[in-house]
Point group: C2
Chain length 340, copies 2
Amino acid sequence: MRDVARKSGLSIATVSRVINFPGEVPAETAEIVNTAMRYLNYRPNINGRRLKMSQTRTVGVLVPTLANPVFATSVQGIEQEANIEGLTVLLTSSNYDPEREMGAVSALLNNRVDGLILTLANADNNPVVDLLLAEKIPFVLLFNQPERADIAAISVDNAKSAFDITNAMIAKGHRSLVMVAGQFESSDRSRQRYDGFCRALDQAGIEKKHLVQVRFGETDLVEPLRDLLLGPDAVTGIVCSTDMLAIAAISACRAHGLSVPGDVSVGGIDGISVGGLITPKLCSAVQPTQEMGRQALAFLRGLIKGQTNPQSLLLPHHLSDGDSIGAFRGDSRRRSSTRV
Amino acid sequence: MRDVARKSGLSIATVSRVINFPGEVPAETAEIVNTAMRYLNYRPNINGRRLKMSQTRTVGVLVPTLANPVFATSVQGIEQEANIEGLTVLLTSSNYDPEREMGAVSALLNNRVDGLILTLANADNNPVVDLLLAEKIPFVLLFNQPERADIAAISVDNAKSAFDITNAMIAKGHRSLVMVAGQFESSDRSRQRYDGFCRALDQAGIEKKHLVQVRFGETDLVEPLRDLLLGPDAVTGIVCSTDMLAIAAISACRAHGLSVPGDVSVGGIDGISVGGLITPKLCSAVQPTQEMGRQALAFLRGLIKGQTNPQSLLLPHHLSDGDSIGAFRGDSRRRSSTRV
DNA sequence: TTGAAAGCGTTACCAA
DNA sequence: TTGGTAACGCTTTCAA
């Protein structure tokens, strides 16, 4: 910048003005400066600006993992919106480990991000949330559904999604169901969805509530489901907490020689549409994920500007029959009507 | 930092030393400083450091989109490795638009990243590559396979993957094949894979080479494939440039009332295993994507340190029969042996 | 309309 | 072993 100033025979202050307030500078002066900048291949050092200014125009994002298309797609939405707004995105992932959440957020704060978008293992009684609240750093939870109402969060209603999908399966005649869910410790969504599952069964007067818990990343359900699929009281339907688990469940059914649907029906909840990829057989509760990411960033911007107050936003989910291989994107309602 | 210094009755310089070179400071001094830091809730401002130091310990990442699990998973690998090394990841996406690549990289350079990992629309004759070469900024291409040998790149051999998979289908008796590929302008992988497809057909003495090009994001192949599936010279097999396209193709086949495999066989190339999700029916050329991301970052670190020279790294791909819904992760060879 | 200069939070050199 | 201080590149106030 000093070089540009020297080259154009003007001061550093003027160069800065040309960059930041081109309107406040005569066109010809701006021209001189711009020429010098091009000549010298000048690149503003954003770190200098960040150090000086109170706003860094940077947002931090924490997701459990990008290996799950749900989170990846939401980050794509955040990224897209950030691009439009000229914001920089700092990305970290926790690998579903609550212990790593604090470290990751800490690193983001050291970068002086203006705000954060987080998908946490557990939104309630979370030290990260407490820290952010104490330091008054704007943040939006994504996919989490905290109990406190004064925390910004964007999610579907997890319990209701599970409740609806379970009811849909009951309506199709299933009386014997199991829920496959992730470990409750690493996903409050799992627990909330299990609650919805139980509520639907209770309401239908079904006593037996099976639960298979799977640790993160596990995709082999052949053994965990063996008894429930082949035993004397085999279930006729599987409700899955996530679409990835539903895929694994379908695979396991086939490994045991069962057809889906037919011998078994599978439903997948995610509050999402899986990046245009697939939805599991029979039932699916969906909400376009990318759009949720964009909304989260828009919401966060409001918080940062102080124009909005933190509050939970529960998006409606859409219940639909699923394809085991579908191909929809964006609008989850426009889905291929084919069947396997 | 000044506050910490004052609180501990020492100088700023000492505080800095405690943070950066704890070994060069007496344990008790360090203890005093640490106590003060905790008491004051001190957070180092990384931007100050970045401004001062020549290395920012930050890497920039550019992918076409995170909505494609292939890229998302690779970013997860990069992210994971960066976490271990204490590096910050700056993420951007081009949405497959070559025009946006320069803008995105420019923004990353303004952040003074130490190096870049890029998946470009076209690696050859690319202004971004020229810029980086001219400015001597370390970078690694991921999934791109540039002609120049002195550019760092990690990829499978795109042409060979397509060649192998096409040969596999020919070996199964197919004589009438179509390739479904993305637009060549937005993916050099597409073109390279199409070349491999053609070479295999040539070698088998098959004249007819069908090509259906699909623009990015399109997942509805029902119309584009209608004639080729139902017409008088209908194909018996479809080779797809990516797994996402293969899924769309399978879906289209079913929409037309064709079974897969059976009436039609579908093969999908991606040089990847899709984040544990699915592989398309019949054939698949796979390579664990997350691992590729990790390798890319490790490679980049070598370049940044000046310990390595830029060179292309072609990973072997693994040809396998695919499941339309599988569930493998990491090791692509340990895959569910079920069939639809 | 332009410029001088202070200061953002660090690091690292040189002295004490 | 510790401290004073210049410098990193930028923004912004105040004055000219």
